[in-house]
């Protein structure tokens, strides 16, 4: 794919984009109070939605989803439905209530609601593990893009990409830049949609709305080249589709860095409507992603390139291969890479910072160095940030049979098996207590990793809890465990019960 040379023009475009983010961030720092601001302060619900979408978009969305469509056809719609439907759960079951708790992070919420430092620490550890797994998916995407940019092998590309990421975060932090998420979303959507419009125009399809135009490409693939993605629910069962879809939805409603978005705006109405706008902006990308997978396959078929379902690297890069094989100018492909790098960088940076904050706030002063000063905590956070980056890097260079979207789905499964039940019952069942949530979260971790560890030896585990989809059955199991253990142990304090009734649900005392 592409010439065997360093791609100077795309590299320049990528570097220019990051410079733009830093410059914009410096301007934003001077004016804004909330990180959603562009030119200072509150920017409206649309701006909030753009920020939510920017924070959400990762390499999994930008690259991985198109790759899943390329490889698996209809089955990949489970990712679309899972990653959008979860926002309905988030909005109706959690958004308003979480804000009323007034706690900023998942460990904060768990520690407060369940009145347990053990539960808080466990939630912090789980949040960190989620951050690492999710970051592995992003590092894989970064590695593939850097590999293409510099024409180097994957492993050195991942190392270089990770180094660039850490440098970017350090430089941004040293300069005190704020994340301009509205600008980031604008860059993401532009770099994703414009090349797609050019591609569909080149092929003679309806290019103004390529989200509809690519349907004709599916028909052409079938009629001209006899290529047909398998019928729905043939290569992958209906159960597998539902399992993946619901696991992703539960995970969406349980991801720590998504939940914390609701604290970042002044009013609850703005938070709720911001979610709607965010969902719309996210859906714009997800309506478009399948087109890249279809067009990539069409271009390959025209060039006589056989379809290889085992080539995960090619699949994860179909967004780029569609642009290159479609004969788009190199600068357009450069913009695509810039958008993908932006998505991956911002996601990893956010995850790593959240994870290191969890460590320095919830673990370090409680378990490692009680009485640590604020300065100690800052250094602990910085050191742990580097550790997280190294951990994700070491995992990302391992050979895997999982694609970017599948690695991300594993993170979602962990969140769906642990944080989601903890929040759900913590908000909607006053009897849920510390023993219940600790038992539940531990069970959730076991359910998530059991298929990886013993799945091959115990096939029933793999069947009930697929690696990327374990939360479909896992979340309900964890909920049952939480309920059972809570009922067998002492209830929460009257104080927290009253708080839940009066302050969260506005109920009269009985």
């Amino acid at each position: 794919m592409g010439e065997s040379t360093v791609k100077l023009l795309p590299i320049a475009i990528v570097a220019g984009m990051f410079a733009l983010f830093i410059i914009s961030g410096l301007r934003t720092r001077k004016h804004q109070v909330s990180e959603y601001g562009f030119a200072g302060g509150y920017t409206g619900r649309v701006g909030i939605g753009a920020a939510i979408a920017s924070n959400w978009m990762s390499a999994a969305s930008f690259l991985g989803l198109a790759g899943m469509f390329y490889l698996k056809g209809y089955f990949a719609t489970a990712y679309v439905v899972g990653w959008t439907g979860g926002y309905v759960l988030l909005l109706v079951l959690m958004a308003t209530q979480i804000r009323r708790f007034g706690k900023y992070t998942a460990p904060d919420f768990v520690g407060f609601r369940y009145e347990s430092e053990t539960a808080r620490t466990l939630a912090a550890v789980i949040s960190i593990i989620i951050a690492v797994i999710y970051s592995v998916a992003q590092f894989r995407g970064i590695g593939l893009m850097v590999s293409w940019l510099f024409d180097i092998d994957y492993i050195p590309a991942v190392i270089i990409g990770a180094s660039l990421l850490v440098s970017f975060v350090v430089v941004s932090g040293a300069l005190g830049t704020a994340r301009n998420q509205k600008l980031q979303y604008f860059v993401l959507i532009t770099t994703f949609i414009l090349p797609l419009m050019l591609l569909t125009r080149k092929l003679g399809y309806f290019w103004l709305l390529p989200q509809f135009g690519y349907g004709a490409a599916i028909s052409d693939l079938q009629q001209q080249f006899g290529f047909v993605w398998s019928q729905p629910f043939t290569s992958e069962s209906l159960f597998a589709w539902f399992a993946l879809c619901f696991s992703l939805m539960f995970g969406t409603a349980g991801l720590p860095h998504v939940l914390s978005r609701f604290y970042m705006v002044p009013g609850i109405r703005d938070a709720r409507w911001g979610v709607v706008w965010g969902l719309f902006f996210i859906a714009l990308i997800y309506w478009s992603a399948p087109a890249y997978g279809v067009l990539a396959r069409l271009f390959e078929a025209r060039q006589g390139i056989p379809f290889n379902p085992a080539d995960l690297g090619t699949a994860d890069m179909v967004v780029l291969s569609a642009a290159l094989n479609g004969g788009l100018p190199l600068w357009v492909t450069g913009f695509l890479v810039a958008g993908g790098m932006s998505a991956a960088f911002s996601t990893v940076a956010g995850l790593m910072l959240t994870g290191s904050a969890s460590f320095s706030y919830d673990i370090y002063p409680r378990l490692i160095r009680p009485g640590a000063s604020e300065t100690d905590k800052v250094y602990a956070a910085k050191g742990f940030f580097l550790l997280l980056a190294i951990a994700a890097l070491l995992l990302a260079v391992q050979t895997t049979s999982m694609m970017i979207a599948e690695i991300a789905a594993l993170a979602f499964a962990l969140a769906g098996n642990t944080i989601f039940p903890a929040f759900l019952l913590g908000i909607w069942w006053g009897r849920a207590n510390a023993a219940g949530v600790i038992a539940g979260m531990l069970a959730g971790v076991a359910i998530t990793f059991a298929p990886l560890v013993i799945g091959s030896a115990v096939p029933i585990i793999h069947l009930l809890f697929p690696v990327t989809s374990s939360a479909f059955i896992g979340a309900p199991v964890v909920i049952v465990i939480m309920i059972a253990v809570s009922l067998l142990t002492a209830p929460p304090s009257v104080e927290i019960s009253s708080f839940l009734s009066r302050s969260v649900h506005d109920c009269p005392e009985e």
Binding site: S34, Y104, Y214, I218, F233, I268, L279, D506
Partner: protein, 114 residues
């Protein structure tokens, strides 16, 4: 039932006017959400795996075969619609009960959050 359990929050036993109304609309939205997902896949399964559905499965809508359009395009739109319906109801409900303000005004973002 123990005294504590009777008084504690339970989504299936809402207390007070505010919570009862809120849980009612939450259940309605979640029902629509679940029906949309399960129902759409039931339709897709019928179209793709039954003799009666086979001719219909070749129909296109907005250039896409019905199964792809229904799942990949309609369902996200359905979720957006549900969120809008929920928000409109919450805005009206909050205005009626003067619940527009938060009890806990949270300050602006801190550096802890990225």
């Amino acid at each position: 039932m123990r005294e504590y359990d009777r008084g504690s929050i339970n989504i299936f036993r809402p207390r007070g006017k505010s919570m009862k109304q809120e849980t009612k609309v939450i259940m309605m939205v979640l029902t629509g959400w679940l029906l949309g997902i399960v129902g759409s896949q039931a339709v897709v399964f019928f179209l793709e795996h039954t003799q009666q559905g086979a001719p219909l499965s070749q129909w296109t809508f907005f250039n896409l075969r019905v199964p792809f359009w229904l799942t990949g395009q309609f369902l996200p739109l359905w979720f957006i619609i549900q969120c809008v319906v929920f928000n409109v109801w919450m805005d009206r409900h909050a205005a009626r009960d003067l619940d527009g303000t938060l009890r806990f005004r949270v300050p602006a973002s801190t550096d802890r959050e990225a």
